[in-house]
């Protein structure tokens, strides 16, 4: 079996052959089939119209990301509110961690709840814009790599939601201290879920649709 990079000639695709490949199990069916008879997945030819779904989920995720940053993730009540009742947003939580001196954990939270979601919004939007546009083979490989990274890393943003869930479940020390989740926890969880759905509905085959039929070098 030859390495992928060695292959530079024109590539026959299922779409050009008048067939539709199942994106779940790889089985190939005639184009008039709407359902894969092997695994039951809905079949769809690579089509830019499927990007509407990507945009819809992405916008839903963006909208939920706004309250997730404005409202408090959780509120900590110490000595029944006498010693203070602190509420912290996502960014506030990171700053607090840095004041405690735990920079490593602060970086994890900062990366997971700010850099990754924002990077994901930009990456998915860019992929949806360039999908189906003509590209060289190298560009297509870069795009696929970015898509794979986005798909892999998306779930990791849930860390902050789990932190809030664990803290509010365990820090119920009555008079001493108690932690309650804030509205941002729910909207952040939804934002992550929506962007995951957005990435899942992106059809990676569109990355390769814009390639010229014959590669320019070959």
């Amino acid at each position: 079996m030859s390495a992928p990079s060695e292959h530079s000639g024109p590539v026959m695709t299922a779409h050009r052959a008048g067939l539709t490949g199942c994106h779940s199990c790889g089985r190939v069916w005639p184009q008039d089939h709407t359902k894969c008879l092997r695994c039951g997945t809905h079949l769809s030819p690579p089509d830019r119209r499927s990007l509407q779904k990507v945009w819809a989920w992405l916008i839903a995720g963006l909208i939920m990301y706004i309250p997730a940053n404005l409202f408090p993730m959780m509120s900590t009540q110490t000595f029944a509110g006498l010693a203070g009742n602190s509420e912290s947003t996502i960014l506030g939580g990171v700053v607090e961690l840095m004041h405690h001196g735990s920079y490593d954990i602060a970086i994890i939270v900062f990366v997971a709840s700010i850099i990754v979601p924002v990077g994901k919004f930009i990456a998915i939007a860019w992929l949806a814009i360039v999908a189906g546009r003509p590209a060289t083979v190298d560009q297509a490989h870069t795009r696929l790599k970015i898509y794979e990274v986005v798909e892999f890393i998306g779930r990791w943003s849930m860390i902050d939601v789990f932190v809030v869930a664990i803290l509010s479940a365990l820090v119920q020390l009555g008079f001493m201290a108690s932690v309650h989740p804030g509205p941002a926890a729910a909207s952040f969880a939804l934002s992550v879920a929506f962007t995951m759905l957005s990435a899942q509905s992106f059809d990676a085959r569109l990355i390769w649709r814009g390639l010229p039929l014959r590669s320019r070098t070959g």
């Binding site: 992928p4 539709t20 790889g26 005639p30 089939h33 798909e151 939601v161 020390l173």
Partner: protein
């Protein structure tokens, strides 16, 4: 043990033109990431078939993969049951203590406004992983013995694949680590057996990823008798 065999070659260099059918798609495989068409070929155990264009792994049959996956699924079931009922973390400060298993936590929140959040979190860390383990055993148990798959095996495997990105046990462990640091100044924390069960679960997941080959399982389901053969109504066009 049936060897999940079949696979691949680039269409252009294909010599045996009888093994596939361009009208019905039989004997062909399309790369899920770039739609490049491949012809199914027999693959040796241990070999890995990659897409000729984008390099996506198309199939990687491994020796005894089904038996390994079944064993690993049972392991994760045991670990998950332990993770639910054993104490997870123990927090104490100035005489106020709180040791709880995830089951206790779920009960404590059962009538609050936070119920949806608790249900979602529990589903992601316990519900989906355990359901996936059950589905995988259901699909693979007859296949590993070389028998016909149980009813709805294809649907079961498809659901297990849909659930994959949403089961987040390993992310939960990292979340716990962050929570520990946050709570460290407020109270002293002891880790319970359930926490270690989650840590073990990460390694079980990594191990089963090494043996997982979706295409091999789909082929095994198909070859072992699931009725999926496509019969066109009009006369078949030979290429």
């Amino acid at each position: 043990m049936l060897a999940p065999s079949l696979w691949w070659f680039i269409l252009a260099v294909m010599k045996n033109e009888q093994s596939y059918d361009l009208a019905t798609g039989r004997g062909l495989v399309a790369c899920p990431n770039c739609d490049a068409l491949h012809v199914e070929e027999d693959l040796e155990l241990g070999e890995t078939a990659r897409c000729i264009r984008c390099g996506t792994v198309l199939a990687k049959p491994r020796e005894g993969a089904f038996a390994q996956l079944i064993a690993l699924s049972f392991t994760s079931m045991v670990l998950l049951v332990g993770a639910v009922f054993f104490p997870f973390l123990q927090v104490s400060a100035m005489g106020f203590g709180n040791a709880s298993s995830l089951f206790d936590v779920a009960l404590a929140f059962a009538d609050g406004v936070l119920l949806p959040l608790v249900i979602a979190v529990l589903a992601m860390i316990i519900g989906l992983p355990i359901t996936r383990a059950f589905l995988l055993v259901y699909v693979l148990a007859p296949l590993a013995k070389g028998r016909a798959p149980y009813r709805h095996a294809a649907r079961a495997f498809r659901w297990s694949e849909v659930m994959r990105p949403w089961s987040m046990a390993e992310i939960f462990v990292i979340g716990t680590a962050v929570a520990l640091v946050k709570v460290a100044g407020l109270a002293s924390v002891h880790l319970g057996p359930a926490f270690w069960a989650f840590c073990a679960l990460i390694f079980v997941n990594i191990a089963s990823k090494a043996f997982m080959c979706q295409t091999c399982i789909w082929d095994a389901i198909e070859d072992a008798g699931q009725a999926t053969e496509f019969e066109p109504k009009q006369t078949r066009v030979k290429v």
